[in-house]
């Protein structure tokens, strides 16, 4: 334990740097996935075939093991950040798309009727009424995706991706040396801490962005 703490103390800068990279790659992927997932949900939620296809397709993506998906992306995108971000986006789509669809479907028809009655067009209804009402659920989807990708991003270090996974793989490559365990432990705990930090962030975002009428 002492050894571990002194290791962390000596390598604080490296660990912070890797943690920051890890958070950046996850954050980038989540922003892209949110745009794509919400767009996909908005275009398919009121078409039974469309939304079934959207959920089935994004669900299939999520079934593919991360190492295999990275393997398929490398010939197209090379090593490093790009395949990492793309893979994380692909994994994040299902929770966000599905929750957007469910959230939009849960908006009561009477509310839509009222919006139309006040003279709102389809676009304004979507932006001012439907999406705000569906937002808490969409946000939950984004949060689930984030928790998922924080862990998956660790594997991307093997394909020259950024982040705390490097610490874990370095530990593995130094198998037998004194610091191997400290490094692997620092990387693993770092990922857990990051996941918890993201969770706290979402807690705050949720409080700040939930429409006033929906707050409990």
């Amino acid at each position: 334990m002492d050894r571990f703490l002194s290791y962390v103390g000596r390598h604080t800068d490296d660990l912070l740097q890797q943690g920051l990279e890890h958070a950046t790659v996850v954050g980038t992927a989540i922003v892209i996935a949110t745009v794509l997932g919400v767009a996909l949900g908005v275009t398919t939620w009121d078409r039974p075939m469309g939304r079934a296809a959207a959920v089935a397709t994004t669900g299939t993506f999520l079934t593919i093991p991360s190492f295999a998906l990275l393997g398929l992306l490398i010939p197209l995108l090379g090593l490093g950040w790009t395949p990492t971000v793309v893979a994380l986006v692909v994994y994040s789509l299902l929770p966000i798309t599905r929750n957007t669809i469910v959230g939009l479907r849960e908006v009561a028809p009477a509310i839509l009727e009222a919006a139309r009655g006040t003279g709102m067009g389809p676009t304004r209804t979507l932006l001012r009424v439907q999406l705000p009402l569906a937002w808490p659920l969409i946000l939950t989807g984004i949060r689930v995706s984030t928790q998922l990708t924080v862990g998956i991003a660790a594997i991307a270090a093997y394909v020259a991706g950024p982040g705390l996974g490097n610490e874990i793989f370095d530990g593995l490559s130094r198998l037998g040396s004194k610091n191997a365990i400290n490094q692997a432990l620092a990387g693993t705990l770092g990922v857990i801490v990051l996941a918890l930090a993201f969770d706290l962030l979402f807690f705050a975002v949720r409080r700040l962005t939930t429409p006033r009428g929906l707050r409990v």
Partner: protein, 258 residues
Amino acid sequence: MTAVATPASAPSRRRSLTGVIGIRHLATPAVVVVALIADYLWVHSLRLDSIEQRTLNSGYLVGRTAEHLKLTLVATVLIMSIAVPLGVLISRVRARWVPPLVLGLANVGQATPAIGVLVLLTITVGPGVGVAMTSLVAYSALPVLRNTLIGIQQVDPTLIEAARGMGMRPAQVLWRIEMPLAVPVVLAGLRTALVFCVGVATLATFVNAGGLGDIIVNGIKLDRDPVLVTGSILTASIALLLDWAGGLVESALRPKGT
């Protein structure tokens, strides 16, 4: 597969298995078959160098696939025999704070990266199949444990009350009321675990425990795209097919009336 998709033997159990096994259920196998054939034709059209030939021959591919399936299926059986009874046991505990604590720990556990667990175990115990198997079980047992707990907790308390009123003993209530009603949730957890296992088993290569990860790593290290793509497609195919089979089992075993 036939054992799973035999609506004829139990026509009343499934509302419309024949209807459900429509285009929707054939899509996954179709995609997998197309991907495998396309990969096969592509690799065949190439002139493989000696490095590629060392990996891309049927003996090596079948060997790694068999290792992968063995890791996955043995781990799933172990998970089923550990996590389900454990979940039931925890749901029986009288102390109210125990189940939420376990659920919370399971959530934190899920945030732990699988590769971290694997590497930490390897450093402390040493590389090998045992370590790979332990990480597979430890990591993938969480969804099953959680779903078993949730599945039992979500059973309508009035049903349990009614069962007790009929004179059922606690064991009977568990076996004849709670367990059957929890089955769909438990199965969903097992299906998730199965998919997790296929994924985590690709990492077994890092601790010299074989599996399809070997092929992917060879492809990356030697910079040979045919090797890399073949390994990835095989891995993805196994994951998709097992998930597909899990889905069929799920709909076949759903209790009547739910």
